[in-house]
Amino acid sequence: MSADRPTTNPTDPAALPDAAPEADLTETGTAHLPTLERSVMGSVGVALMGAGLRSARPFQKLVLGGVGAGLTAMAATGRNPIAAALKIRQTGQGEVLVRDAVTVGKPADVLYGVWRDLAGLPRLMTHLQSVEVLDDTRSRWTVRAPTGTVSWDAQITADEPGRRLAWASLPGAAIENHGEVVFREAPGDRGTEVVVRLAYRPPGGTVGAVAARLFGEEPAQQLRDDLMRFKREQELGFAPTTEGQSSGRAAHGGQA
């Protein structure tokens, strides 16, 4: 957290009654394994290596031994090389960090206003199913997930109109997360730079994050898509599309 960022609304601190101190959104590197994940990986790795060594079938020996040795190495070094290769980044607290930015040709207060209307966000973000506003600072978020939907309650932890919004999930959230949206004037007459940083603890740790990436349920890509959708909605009022255009697809085994 940088020093020039107040943690509460400077104009109305009372609007944020029990805001928790803001958690850090600084990037510290790739895929350090949390202690729990390390110990689980270590045990499973050693067990697999043992099973591999005992196995009579050479192929099984090789696969079990190989996977076991890999997991053991990951546990020993505290790093997940697959996560690193997939550029999964982390905060100092070991959460997965996702950050991106887009420049939108509209004034910051207008864009802030769109974002502050939390209940309207699902129109912009397709993976969001709903945001239910509970009171001034609390809201209930429901997202689509591979297993159905996931819900949690969140609280606005900083609200600086026209400049910044920060939030954190409340205790008991299925996916612990926190983040911020910063709106800052772009140099020249280019509008506003919208910067989003969000951190979360993926179910299943870094292994879960890798699995999510491989199955295409990827927060970094979702954020990118959402930011582009937001920009287009603001600059054009619609999203360009080729959905339903003519083609020779039917003749080639697809939809026309």
């Binding site: 420049t103 040709g105 280019r190 509008g191 890509q221 990118r224 898509d225 582009m228 920009k231 287009r232 600059e235 054009l236 619609f238 999203a239 360009p240 599309t241 080729t242 959905e243 339903g244 255009q245 003519s246 083609s247 020779g248 697809r249 039917a250 003749a251 080639h252 085994g253 697809g254 026309a256």
Partner: protein, 392 residues
């Protein structure tokens, strides 16, 4: 309607496909009166542009008559005769407002694909040019859907023939922008153009219009060289001469002040470099063959400009970067910002400074297009440029 459809590598065909419809209130439908095959369509035919899908309608150089407009279209009316830029721009984003129409932020619905390849940014959409560039259906068809109808289409009000204005959609502005990017000092600068295909022809004539002291055109196809020579260009056939020596001699040892590479990724070239390029492209280790680019960097004079209208797709290596650094070269490149050139270039056509129809060697119907794709690719029958009439 009838349309030219990509059926796979080295296979295009004429098929009957559904008529296009308005998909958004800012769309228009244009009845195509003339369309052309572009040199960059050959990259699609050859399968070197990724993300083509079987059934895609090709074509990005087309013009016609507006037959339907969406309810939010303000400037364009049914009955207007228009030329349509090959690139699709929204007109509202920052690049569009700065005149960088081909760099439009908003017109490519498949921005993900280009972002993955090109460092997190995508260019605007293109008609009939792969899903990486938006997957928009193209204009080698009887009708075409034109998105952002108030931004792209340019109304032709004079009685100029289709053939005189059709190339405002791509190859004329592309050649012109390549010459403009050189920053030619009139009466002083010598410009070399690698590639005497349609874009090279327009680059050469544009360099002349911008006052180049001399224009030298390099190719291997006699008909193309003859076309350039007819415009008063000096020509070099690289299969008969050592091109770097010939250029040194033609410029008193300085090299051309500016070099335009109007060839791009599928350069033929020869020598060991060209063989390595070809092998790597076949093995999918590389998209691009860069003989023309190497020659451009090696031949350009100190302090000169290397201008690239030729299309490059991916990663290249064995680039003589040391030569470029030693000579202090400037690189200018990129997809054409067609929208901003159409008006001024139309004025030049109306003033009689240039008649773009000089480049046409073949006229045909859509049904003949698949054969002509091959004729054009193989440079048979003196083929430089093919114009199609979708209603013939």
């Amino acid at each position: 309607m009838k349309a030219i459809v990509w059926q796979g590598t080295n296979s295009v065909g004429v098929e009957t496909v559904p008529d296009p419809t308005l998909l958004l209130p800012t769309d228009a439908i244009v009845r195509v009166t003339s369309t052309a095959i572009c040199g960059s369509d050959l990259h699609l035919l050859d399968g070197v542009i990724p993300s083509m899908e079987k059934g895609d309608i090709l074509g990005h150089e087309f013009m016609g008559e507006v037959v339907e407009v969406g309810r939010d279209v303000r400037k364009l009316k049914v009955g207007d005769r228009v030329v349509v830029p090959f690139n699709i721009a929204c007109g509202a984003c920052d690049p569009c407002r700065r005149g960088l129409f081909s760099a439009c932020d908003n017109s490519n619905p498949n921005h993900r694909m280009a972002e993955a390849l090109y460092g997190g940014v995508s260019g605007g959409g293109l008609f009939g040019y792969s899903h990486m560039y938006g997957g928009y259906a193209g204009g080698q068809a009887q009708y075409v859907r034109v998105p952002f109808a108030d931004v792209g289409p340019y109304r032709i009000e004079s009685d100029l023939r289709d053939e005189q204005v059709l190339f405002l959609t791509d190859i004329f502005p592309t050649g012109y922008q390549a010459a403009e990017n050189c920053g030619i000092v009139p009466g002083r600068d010598v410009v070399a153009v690698f590639g005497a295909g349609p874009v090279g022809q327009f680059a050469a004539r544009s360099a002349q219009m911008l006052g180049a002291a001399n224009v030298i055109v390099i190719d291997r196809v006699p008909e193309r060289l003859a076309m350039a020579a007819a415009a008063g260009c000096q020509v070099i056939n690289y299969e008969q001469e050592d091109v770097l020596i010939a250029l040194r001699e033609a410029t008193g040892g300085r090299g051309p002040d500016h070099v335009i590479d109007a060839v791009g990724m599928e350069a033929h070239g020869h020598g060991p470099g060209a063989l390595v390029d070809t092998a790597k492209q076949r093995l999918k280790l590389s998209f691009d063959r860069i003989t023309a680019l190497r020659w451009a960097l090696l031949s350009c004079a100190k302090g000169g400009t290397v201008s690239l209208p030729g299309v490059y797709g991916g990663l290249i290596d064995k680039v003589p970067m040391g030569a470029a650094f030693a000579k202090g070269l400037t690189f200018k490149m990129g997809q054409t910002h067609t929208h901003r050139h159409i008006g001024p270039l139309l004025s030049r056509i109306e003033a009689g400074e240039i008649d773009p129809s000089f480049v046409i060697t073949h006229r045909a119907s859509l049904d003949q297009a698949p054969d002509l794709y091959r004729t054009f690719r193989d440079k048979h029958d003196g083929c430089v440029k093919v114009v199609l009439n979708p209603w013939a």
